[in-house]
């Protein structure tokens, strides 16, 4: 599913951007969360929106909306038991599922959560289990686009790795598009391939993550955080004219430092 927003109304401004299929996007900056609502098609604004080259209108928006899942920081539900939350989700979103229990178990299997977690209450699960459960919940509707608001925050190293590997698998094996909103530049630089930088209700920059994060002066002028590994390399290049390259992994920068000392 490919989305193209052209002169699309966003907080009294008009923005244009595209979301391509099977890509991991990062969104950062003020009103990042509001942009997620736009991509989730929570309402149809003025401007042109096409999905797979077909114009989106009031008549067909619901059909597309079902194929996009926005995972917030909390689960909106009045239920406590995880099984009931799953069933409630199916009912509230009018999902037509032949065998709901099988689908629920399959979703849990994809995110590698044990089936017996369904008997637990939401208040008793850890923050990492909650993130994975939210992802399993969103998979019930088999969305083409999965949008996650701050998915990594509060996860330890092994759970961060687990969630990222899972998102990469969903992208690679099932061609899902993943959109991650975060204010953590280290996470975005490490795990996304395309970025949208938002400032003053406008898209300031969009394009490949590897290229955009190298515009250090521009990003700093616009008050965006720079990934630590980029900032360190930038300082070394600027202050000492050292010819080291920009890397994503600390082990690679060490090899480069070793060569240039």
């Amino acid at each position: 599913m490919e989305l193209k927003f052209t002169n699309y109304e966003f907080k009294e401004k008009k923005i244009s951007f595209e979301i391509e299929k099977g890509t991991i996007y990062g969104v950062t900056g003020q009103n990042g969360r509001d942009l997620l609502e736009i991509v989730a098609l929570n309402k149809l604004n003025k401007g042109i929106l096409t999905i797979n080259n077909e114009k989106v209108t009031k008549d067909n928006i619901n059909e597309y909306r079902r194929r996009i899942s926005l995972i917030g920081q909390d689960i909106e539900t009045s239920q406590h038991k995880l099984l009931n939350i799953m069933i409630d989700h199916i009912k509230r979103h009018n999902l037509t599922i032949k065998d709901p229990i099988k689908k629920i178990k399959d979703s849990l299997k994809i995110v590698e959560l044990p089936e017996d977690i369904l008997n637990r209450n939401i208040e008793t699960i850890s923050s990492s289990e909650k993130k994975l459960f939210q992802l399993a919940l969103s998979l019930l509707s088999n969305p083409d686009i999965i949008i996650l608001d701050e998915p990594i925050k509060c996860l330890d190293k092994s759970n961060e790795k687990k969630l990222i590997m899972l998102l990469q698998r969903l992208k690679e094996q099932f061609s899902k598009t993943i959109i991650i909103s975060s204010d953590d530049s280290n996470t975005l630089y490490k795990y996304t391939s395309n970025m949208l930088f938002i400032k003053n209700n406008d898209i300031l920059l969009s394009g490949p993550t590897n290229e955009l994060y190298l515009r250090v002066d521009f990003l700093k002028r616009n008050k965006f955080d720079i990934p630590d590994i980029i900032e360190f390399t930038y300082i070394a290049k600027k202050k000492k004219q050292v010819k080291i390259d920009y890397h994503k992994d600390v082990r690679d920068i060490i090899k480069d430092i070793y060569k240039h000392i």
Partner: protein, 264 residues
């Protein structure tokens, strides 16, 4: 003389802790980190008395259960993000209510100003509590915990609710209060940058303390931290590895200084 404010002896709790013991030194800023599901939040709830456990916790050398609820509430305050009953009072009213009734009005106002400034609430004092954002509500929870100058403040992990910059800013405010007022802080955090601001830090894994000491000493043990599932801050990670490769002699956490050390 006993320098500890809280001692836990042989704690057993669910499958999280089996014969767990620790002593927290008074007037220090202490941080505790560990992987997800290691029982960090349960630990705060146990010290706070929300999970009643007998014969295990000593507060200033006296059994927890031998204190009255009022005595404990005066000594220890805890901040568990968003666990707060919202009212229609303003932030100012909520804060003033925490200061002793007998305190002079001018002193109350002075304290209110100080604490509101530390937690960036000055502009919001007239806002009612029932329509605050999560971030402002947690800032209020922190201000409420500190305003009455308790002996000990327990803080559960704030990392999910703030950007890294704001989190470090808040941690610096907490550190400043600890330094000026000698309030013991026991703070849980999953952002190891916060540990670097504390006096002493503990790493918990599988119900045991696997590391403890000054933050620099603890954070340079990258192998143990990796095994405990924790992410080292970039500068710590880089510095430790450069030192291990003999490219620098000492850990350096400032980027400019590290660049100068490497290429001077």
């Amino acid at each position: 003389m006993n320098n500890n404010c809280i001692e836990i002896i042989g704690l057993k709790y669910l499958n999280l802790f089996e014969d767990f013991s620790v002593a927290f030194e008074k007037e220090k800023f202490l941080t505790i980190s560990g992987s997800n599901n290691c029982g960090k939040t349960s630990f705060i709830r146990i010290i706070d008395g929300q999970v009643p456990i007998l014969n295990t916790i000593l507060v200033y050398g006296k059994k927890y259960e031998d204190y009255t609820i009022t005595e404990i509430n005066t000594l220890i305050k805890s901040v568990i993000p968003l666990e707060f009953t919202k009212t229609q009072n303003t932030i100012e009213e909520e804060l003033l209510y925490q200061i002793s009734f007998n305190t002079k009005k001018e002193i109350k106002q002075k304290r209110l100003k100080e604490i509101a400034k530390q937690f960036k609430l000055t502009k919001f004092l007239t806002r009612t509590v029932d329509n605050l954002s999560d971030e402002l509500l947690i800032r209020l929870q922190l201000a409420l915990a500190f305003i009455s100058s308790p002996k000990i403040v327990l803080i559960d992990d704030l990392s999910s609710y703030f950007s890294k910059k704001d989190l470090l800013d808040i941690t610096n405010s907490i550190k400043e209060i600890n330094k000026n007022e000698k309030i013991t802080i026991i703070m849980i955090t999953s952002q190891l940058e916060c540990n670097l601001l504390s006096d002493y830090t503990y790493i918990i894994s599988n119900g045991e303390i696997v590391l403890e000491g000054s933050p620099l000493e603890v954070l340079e043990k990258d192998n143990i931290l990796n095994k405990a599932g924790l992410n080292l801050p970039f500068m710590m990670d880089l510095s430790v590895k450069l030192r291990d490769y003999d490219l620098i002699k000492q850990i350096e956490l400032d980027m400019d200084r590290l660049v100068d050390t490497l290429w001077n």
